[in-house]
Symmetry: C2
Subunit: 461 residues, 2 copies
Amino acid sequence: MPHITGYDVFDVRFPTSLTADGSDAMNHDADYSAAYIVLTTDDPAVYGCGFTFTIGRGNEVCAAAMELRARPLLGRDIDAVCGSLGGTYRSLKQDSQLRWLGPDKGVEHLALGAVMNAVWDLAARRAGKPLWRLLADMPAEDIVDAADLTYLSDALTREEALEILARLAPTRGERIQQLTESGYPCYTTSAGWLGYSDEKLRRLCQEAVDQGYRHIKLKVGASLEDDIRRLGIAREVIGPQGNLMIDANQVWDVPQAIDWVKQLAEFNPLWIEEPTSPDDVLGHAEIRRAVQPIGVATGEHGMNRVLFKQLFQAGAVDYCQLDACRLASVNEVLAVQLMAAKFGIPVCPHAGGVGLCELVQHLSIFDFIAISGDLTGRVTEFVDHLHEHFVDPCIVRDGAYVMPANPGYSAELKAQTLQDYAFPWGDYWAGTDAGRAEQEWRTGSAGRGIAFAGARAKAEA
Amino acid sequence: MPHITGYDVFDVRFPTSLTADGSDAMNHDADYSAAYIVLTTDDPAVYGCGFTFTIGRGNEVCAAAMELRARPLLGRDIDAVCGSLGGTYRSLKQDSQLRWLGPDKGVEHLALGAVMNAVWDLAARRAGKPLWRLLADMPAEDIVDAADLTYLSDALTREEALEILARLAPTRGERIQQLTESGYPCYTTSAGWLGYSDEKLRRLCQEAVDQGYRHIKLKVGASLEDDIRRLGIAREVIGPQGNLMIDANQVWDVPQAIDWVKQLAEFNPLWIEEPTSPDDVLGHAEIRRAVQPIGVATGEHGMNRVLFKQLFQAGAVDYCQLDACRLASVNEVLAVQLMAAKFGIPVCPHAGGVGLCELVQHLSIFDFIAISGDLTGRVTEFVDHLHEHFVDPCIVRDGAYVMPANPGYSAELKAQTLQDYAFPWGDYWAGTDAGRAEQEWRTGSAGRGIAFAGARAKAEA
């Protein structure tokens, strides 16, 4: 019987800060990165790839946490691991010592998500299906068993979750057919990074419109004057009927958010995204009441299902932007999608970064097929960066994600990418001052890091 | 001029799981641990010690994060670092790449807190004062500058914070005198761990009463039948007038918490602690409405100031149990103490574990001296474990913390403790199966962990 025989973890970083890709009012120098894990088995053809997305420093801390989270998988029978994806998730999550470091948030939660993303990829590859299809072929009971419903019973019971899935089960095939023909609608953020010039902004907005996008998102929050000028350009290009979204990336306090957004209302934004702290449920509710009809969107930093439960209960959001890596993999995403369906909130997943588009296409497709059954008000983010590093990159045509057809979760990075961009030893980084400085730090400091503590204590003994 | 010349980080773990110390309904096998850092300077007599508390696995991940967080301090002038403790905090916190891993929660936040705890210890040692005195001697403007008020302006403005401090400034001396005579009141949890037998429970409760404690806390939530029996024993020993608190350590969903607590109401508990997810502000508010007059207490897993802001705004808690390590050091604790004062919520800090008692005594003493000015309904946790490992352990007499007199934050571990309990290389662990297995894993896996990713990528190149 095949078993999980090992795993390799990689700290992969891309120098995106050099071109201001991904620049916004909070994040000025993001180096898009992935803490990446490959689960290996005694069959070289059977493996699973998963990752969490970060923006640079600290990616190695996630990698270290992932090694610890994956350890209990070593030696396990693949049939058992893939046969109960809820059971596997619970067995990794239940470690009470690691739980203390969250619970269900921060580095440890990102690490659990990355490892379970690899398990879901493994399960889908073994089934010979893309992840969305693996899920679409699961009976409602198995989907609910996989969903992490802990701490949610005051908002969604297991019975309610089963009812939501049962309602759409008979017609899943129709929606698969529909998406196969039209794809899943997406919008682009590639145009609106804060670091881009007005000319580049205008050109990219026009390109987006020409490519069939009906939604464009701009970063705001650094300068009100600049925001007004840039929104004017975007609105001019996209026209009065186009959907214009704005994203503040958490730079405001609640009163400031209300004041600032009201001054941008003339451009008729569809939503204001991340107006304040992602943890502030009551703050988002207050902002939503104050700026309507402008919608409030948040979720890319939504730490776990309990936060989303409260956002729904408090009437704090119009759009749920869950993140495929911030949440603890498909297991927790399913719980949030099911709650969103009950509360009637459209799920418009966050994407971009490294590989998030590859993951969320599966999640949005399954959401429509089996949970929401509705595309109204739903549009999934797409950012045209770094897809060339993936073996099975997402495909976007006419402003829509094309249904993935290959087995797995589309999470596998190319071997050449690992060779070039592993930090700090990869070929690219070895040729940079930043990479060489980091190499010198790690080697020169003789075992700094995890091994350091014990080694030093021993030396002093 | 003296500079910060380096730092040593240690992964220190104690085998507390062997005796069921610290056992509760959520945490069955806690090995109390500290990810510990010592900041060194060019003057051997000038250093700072800080730590975060964990319960075992993952302590090394915190250690790795602390190394990254402390790195910007290297080479900095000590006068500048200690001269603006708010500025130093902001300079470490503002790293937007590390912020992505939270923000303000989980391992990265614990690491920021541990490093800043060491900075506060350094500042107090340099001033030749215990931390509480360093704070008590600071003008209101400096205290407010040190407090992290970001995202709080809808609940507490800088002006309101200054008013709270100004109100009590003229009478700080009187309260210092009062505490010097009577100490700061505390309660004990040592009696009530879930893993203890009824006989041990009865004996420890009696000892606590004999030692002058008027509050006793029991762990609940694993078995209703056991809880009823154990609460009966404790109530019998402490008598009808004694204060009995119960702690569920997050094991319940909201409806279950309400049902369970109502069945324990006959024992007249003062508060139910951590009835559900620490993130569930709305859930705590609902539980509080349902179980009153029993109070609701939470905070030891309160991830940051934004969570506490909402707990206060929603009327979700009767007692604020902030944690000296879960929050990002004194800087964030000050913000929560100031908010609690405005909302009239008593702060009863969480303690126990490793060294939390040593830290919180300073925080509670300063809270009374300068922020709350009131002892009504206030009692700080004390657990009589592991104090022997500290150079300057806290002293409890007649159910009260005795005012610390030595310079610093009482955070320094003994050299012998590092030699014995550094994991897995320390002398104690080297003599155990667990320690030897971990040593074999770390060495045998040849650089697993932070160094592994790059090394493997290089090998494949």
